[in-house]
Symmetry: C2
Subunit: 418 residues, 2 copies
């Protein structure tokens, strides 16, 4: 495709994302709904103005990696670790329940073949870490108690999803599961998550040194984007999702990161502030492209709206998708409202669900009807749950513990660069 | 190509660009030399680590468009208009002289065929607006008297180059020149350059309004990048080079832009300052990719270093390339040092010369030997002239009129956003 066409597409995506986000905002809906809708409107579902292509996919991928970097940057690692047990419960529950329910319904009630039922179950295990994080952000609940549990759980869920995908893919080809391979993947991912933040922190110290000694500007955007992208690629090599590389780099550079064994490598808060200031415009530029591309990938034109199987199947599986995650939330040891909100935040399947669905289609496991139903379930959960969550917060907001205030995060007075 | 490979490539390009730029800086050379050398080292000439691909080309193209946007943003239109006559002399002289000299030498001295000689002449007309601007920036001479003449001349040269390329391409296919088409292209480009800045200015007022009323951050990076990219695409549709669309948008948003007929649409300087602050990290991120890609495209492994024709031809044509542009500089009515520096700044052929050379090769007009010689001439002029210019400034710096100080550009006190 010629460059000028892609330039126009990027411009259209950016403008549409903003336009629909503003409309969503006026209507009282979370802004991410607007960006996802922009993709549905521009894409094959409606206007067909923009078709997904490699260049846009790359920019979207960079967008989600940078968004996860930002999430990591704003994460308080101590609180994440303390939320770890509850996050694990939410992740495991939100993985096992939808998988078993989805598989059982498909296999026993709808009488679908074994491998199809397994793939439907697999698709339902997904949590869209991007959409989930954006909903929390749009609501100002990122640093809340449920926010930290959900971010931790979404990270764990993403890792489990990759492992499950590999296992199911193996099974669909060879009819058996290679346990050794599975264990290897899990171990490698674990090694990555232990080593990557430490390495990123050491590199950050080098970057700060270059930033302070170099005569030319531009160290922060260039060095940090290079750092984040190479950690994303490294995550891929270790078998983890690329976007979690962004998260690992972000958490290492956050102000509240600590190394194991109580070691600390101090990055002063004015450097942290500069990172935030200079990375923000870049992150704001790339992330809307990601959400629009998720909307673009939800091809609703593939749906046969007249099929009765489609309606029954998608409604039953859709309900399962919601119930499974919310039930997992209720299993978390937390105040009632917090755990319900946490479960609800895990509902959107988004881009992660689409990866499963696409693989299912590409491997001829899903026929058109099942694929269409799965896509519409992903669309339900992705587009509707931000609404419910907003309504839930509006109704029960007063019962939530207060969000950690921004004040304790502010730098010392005068630390702001001139 | 898979995403994680491209992510690694981007990271490698960014790190190498910075690393070589720092080395260049330590050695006293302009930083752009470092970025170009990074491309030569990473590319097919030496290591072959990175091969140009569509995704990297797109990022590079966005980089040069954004760099030209920044140049436009920092250009004082009044001064550009006042420098217009001298810029025109420099552009025309630097176009006609190298063309005639190059063509004459090829056709009469080296006895090359007519169309080959015309294409060599055409290649020599090029000015690398990107490298030229970066040299001026690296020397802190962007706002100098010769700086404004050179920027104006490089813009005009780029337009003439596109027209010449279309004419020569026509000629190589049909053996005749379509005058009507040529006039149409020129008129369309003229229309673009009259309308685009006005349209961009009107849109900027809309963007400022959205920026002030929107509840969510990120208006400036998203809206401005969309604006710049769509003006670049628009330039393409009008037959002008895309990067000049970035320049048109930049000049419209500069603090010293005025509409025709004395109309003014005021953008307060605090908004302008915000544009600069938020766009800078994005520009700093993308532009090194462009210069590395120029270096990558200079495939020196194609050169047969043992060929005597190659040496004679490339030395003679290389000398012509330099003499033609410097002589054009001397034709400008300016103080001796200013006009010499202006001529020298026009010497690098860079990416624009490569476009001619590539077309010549793709259309089978250049055989391998001529192509290799042309590439090496482009490399000479691109890599060596920044050195000479730096030496020239060091030797005669005291004879130049002072550069416009930054002070008159500063906003009113207190206009800085909190």
């Amino acid at each position: 495709m010629e460059t000028h066409v892609i330039l126009v597409q990027i411009a259209v995506i950016l403008v549409a994302a903003r336009f629909f986000a503003e409309i969503a905002s006026v209507l009282g809906a979370p802004r991410v709904i607007g960006e996802l809708s922009a993709g549905i409107v521009l894409g094959p579902s409606l206007l067909g103005l923009v078709t997904p292509n490699d260049a846009l996919q790359l920019l979207a991928e960079i967008g989600i990696i940078l968004l996860l970097f930002e999430v990591g940057l704003e994460t308080d690692m101590g609180r994440l670790v303390r939320a770890g047990g509850r996050a694990m419960v939410l992740a495991l529950g939100g993985f096992v329940l939808p998988f078993l329910l989805g598989f059982g319904l498909c296999y026993y009630t709808f009488g679908l073949p074994l491998i199809v039922s397994l793939f439907v179950g697999g698709t339902l295990t997904a949590t869209s870490i991007g959409v989930t994080v954006r909903i929390l952000e749009d609501m100002g609940r990122q640093a809340s108690r449920e926010g930290e549990i959900v971010i931790g759980a979404a990270v764990v869920d993403d890792i489990m999803g990759v492992v499950l995908l590999a296992v199911l893919y193996d099974f669909s080809i060879s009819g058996s599961v290679n346990v050794e391979n599975t264990v290897k993947v899990i171990l490698l991912v674990a090694v990555y998550f232990i080593l990557a933040p430490v390495a990123a922190k050491l590199l950050a110290v080098v970057i700060r040194h270059i930033h302070e000694t170099s005569e030319a500007p531009g160290v922060i955007p260039v060095a940090l984007v290079a750092l984040v992208l190479s950690f994303a690629a490294l995550a891929h090599f270790f078998g983890a999702p690329e976007l979690l590389g962004g998260f690992a780099a972000g958490i290492a550079l956050s102000r509240r990161f600590f190394l194991p064994l109580g070691l600390t490598l101090h990055l002063d808060s004015s450097f942290n502030r500069k990172i935030g200031d200079q990375m923000k415009p870049i992150i704001q530029l790339f992330t809307p492209i990601f959400f629009v591309m998720v909307g673009l990938s939800l091809d609703l034109s593939a749906v046969d709206w007249a099929s009765p199987f489609f309606w029954t199947f998608s409604l039953v599986i859709g309900a399962t998708a919601i119930v499974g995650k919310v039930a997992a939330g209720l299993m978390v040891k937390e105040q009632r409202y917090v755990r319900t909100a946490a479960g609800m935040a895990m509902v959107p399947r988004g881009e992660v669900g689409l990866v499963f669905a696409e693989l299912g289609r590409a491997a001829d496991i899903f026929d058109n009807e099942v694929y269409a139903a799965i896509v519409i379930v992903i669309a339900y959960t992705t587009l509707l749950s931000p609404f419910w969550i907003k309504v839930y917060y509006r109704m029960y907001g007063q019962h939530f513990p207060p969000v950690r205030t921004a004040r304790e995060d502010e730098p010392e007075p005068g630390a702001r660069p001139p």
